[in-house]
């Protein structure tokens, strides 16, 4: 496969003329494809491709004792693996900062939005609750893994079914899933990351564009309500740049939201 190496300087020059190398507008995502039910031992799963970026996300449920301060609420955990399969840049071994941040930023976006009905994850107050694991594996990195993973998490969660649960033994019967969906509320907390390149901002960078970026801001929102933000990397942003970031994230959200709804139908 032919690989085009664009250097950051050229990307900045081009952006200053109002152009991206692949002809997209700053707020425009690449072609998005979402397939659900891709790994059938998961309670829910999704494969998301954004151009050549490719991630797989799975939802698993397990039972656990609730925390003492929330006896009738379930638990939730997002983990990501920047799989060495997906890029020569990723190495095997214990998780390093980028992968930890990755999981935590997505975790907050999903958690803070009111997407999950925590009481709905309670099996028996004070004794047993569901723990929901959302696990992300990258298959191919061509930029913007974070947003692809966030979309995958929503698709996997929205299509997941609760496993069977035997009240007498207190054990999960994975072989007999129920047709009950997860207890979710009617919000769709999509995370959109805006990247600053030179003094321009854009969404859904290719790998080359992401390399040229000096700052990023991930905005988790649903229907105009922002519920999580992470500003990342060393470069600063002016309030004007931030404002612009919020504006294009909002436009991108609408586009991705419509697409997601359509593909989950």
């Amino acid at each position: 496969m032919e690989k085009i190496n664009l250097n950051s300087k050229k990307i900045v020059e081009y952006l200053n003329e109002g152009k991206r190398f692949d002809g997209r507008k700053p707020e425009e995502f690449r072609e998005l494809s979402i397939k659900t039910g891709v790994s059938e031992n998961a309670e829910g799963s999704a494969r998301v491709k954004l151009g050549n970026t490719d991630v797989i996300v799975g939802v698993k449920l397990a039972t656990a004792e609730p925390y003492a301060d929330s006896p009738n609420k379930g638990n939730f955990m997002v983990s990501a693996e920047l799989s060495p399969m997906s890029s020569a840049r990723f190495e095997s071994g214990p998780p390093r900062f980028p992968v930890i941040e990755f999981g935590r930023v997505l975790d907050r976006g999903l958690r803070e939005s009111g997407f999950i009905n925590w009481e709905g994850l309670c099996i028996k107050p004070g004794e047993k609750v569901w723990t929901m694991f959302v696990d992300i594996y990258t298959i191919n990195d061509d930029g913007n893994l974070m947003d692809a993973a966030g979309i995958g998490a929503i698709a996997a969660m929205k299509t997941a079914k609760l496993p069977g649960y035997d009240e007498e033994t207190g054990k999960i019967d994975y072989k007999n899933p129920t047709d009950k969906p997860l207890p979710l509320n009617n919000v769709t907390p999509i995370a959109i990351t805006v990247y600053k390149i030179g003094d321009k901002v854009l969404v859904d960078p290719t790998r080359e564009e992401q390399d040229a970026a000096t700052a990023r801001i991930t905005i988790g929102s649903s229907d105009g309500i922002i519920s999580s933000i992470q500003k990342g990397e060393e470069d600063s942003m002016t309030p004007e740049e931030m404002g612009k970031a919020f504006d294009i994230a909002d436009i991108a959200y609408q586009e991705v939201f419509k697409n997601l709804e359509k593909q989950l139908k």
């Binding site: 490719d54 694991f133 696990d135 298959i139």
Partner: protein
């Protein structure tokens, strides 16, 4: 007598699950492939040959094959905690041993080839599927090879020899129970990997290896076809 034995999914004794393969599934990798056997799905990606780090692991006489086998957390019913386990560490090594004899390691002294294997969905036979995918990915990456390797699990359910156990068969509890015998072979017929768990006598074992050889021929044809048709999903003949 053995003819009366019914496999849980109704397959014939020498019948593998439906297999499929695709080469070129991961654009970033130097070589990549998917191998599917029934519900078991393995992905493999090759990066290299490249400089071998850490330096003290470098072999100046020949190249190093470094495989990493990993089951993704939701590939099975009970979520697997991400990260290395004793099992995945062993299978990674077994995979290297299974494949190395088919490679011309001398052609890249001091270098390393990384093969990353992820099991996306597991229904037994994951190490075999991983090996089948890895070999295709290596060939796709243009790594100098002397031969191909194909891998399948032979087995015995109670007293009956069968090929390609699925999870329901691995959990078989009647009579003598299950014996699982994952085997990998070069196309020229050399055994590069053999493991066994269960109970079997040596005549039966010889027969099981013969059955594996026949099955490996079939897998080899699919691997070859997938390598000639990069990007295309190649499916085995429907039985």
């Amino acid at each position: 007598m053995t003819n009366e034995f019914k496999r849980p999914d109704g397959r014939k004794l020498t019948e593998m699950r439906p297999i499929a393969a695709q080469v070129g599934i991961i654009p970033n990798a130097d070589g990549s492939a998917m191998f599917k056997s029934g519900k078991t799905i393995a992905y493999a990606a090759v990066y290299g040959p490249k400089e071998h780090h850490p330096r003290n692991k470098r072999n100046p006489k020949q190249g190093t094959l470094r495989c990493t086998y990993n089951m993704i957390s939701f590939s099975v019913n009970d979520r697997i905690r991400p990260g290395l386990s004793r099992r995945s560490t062993e299978i990674s090594k077994i995979t290297e041993w299974a494949i190395a004899p088919a490679l011309n390691l001398k052609s890249f002294p001091g270098m390393v080839i990384d093969v990353h294997i992820n099991i996306i969905q597991a229904d037994a036979g994951t190490r075999c599927a991983g090996i089948n995918a890895a070999v295709m990915a290596l060939a796709h990456a243009g790594i100098p090879m002397k031969d191909m390797v194909s891998s399948v699990s032979a087995g015995k359910l109670d007293k009956t020899l069968v090929i390609d156990l699925d999870k329901a068969e691995e959990d078989f509890e009647e009579g003598e129970g299950p014996t699982d015998i994952p085997v990998s072979m070069t196309h020229s017929g050399e055994v590069t990997h053999l493991q066994l768990d269960g109970k079997i006598n040596k005549e039966e074992l010889k027969e099981a290896i013969n059955m594996a050889k026949t099955a490996c021929e079939e897998i080899y044809e699919i691997q070859k076809k997938a390598l000639k048709n990069v990007g295309k999903l190649i499916e085995g003949d429907k039985k």
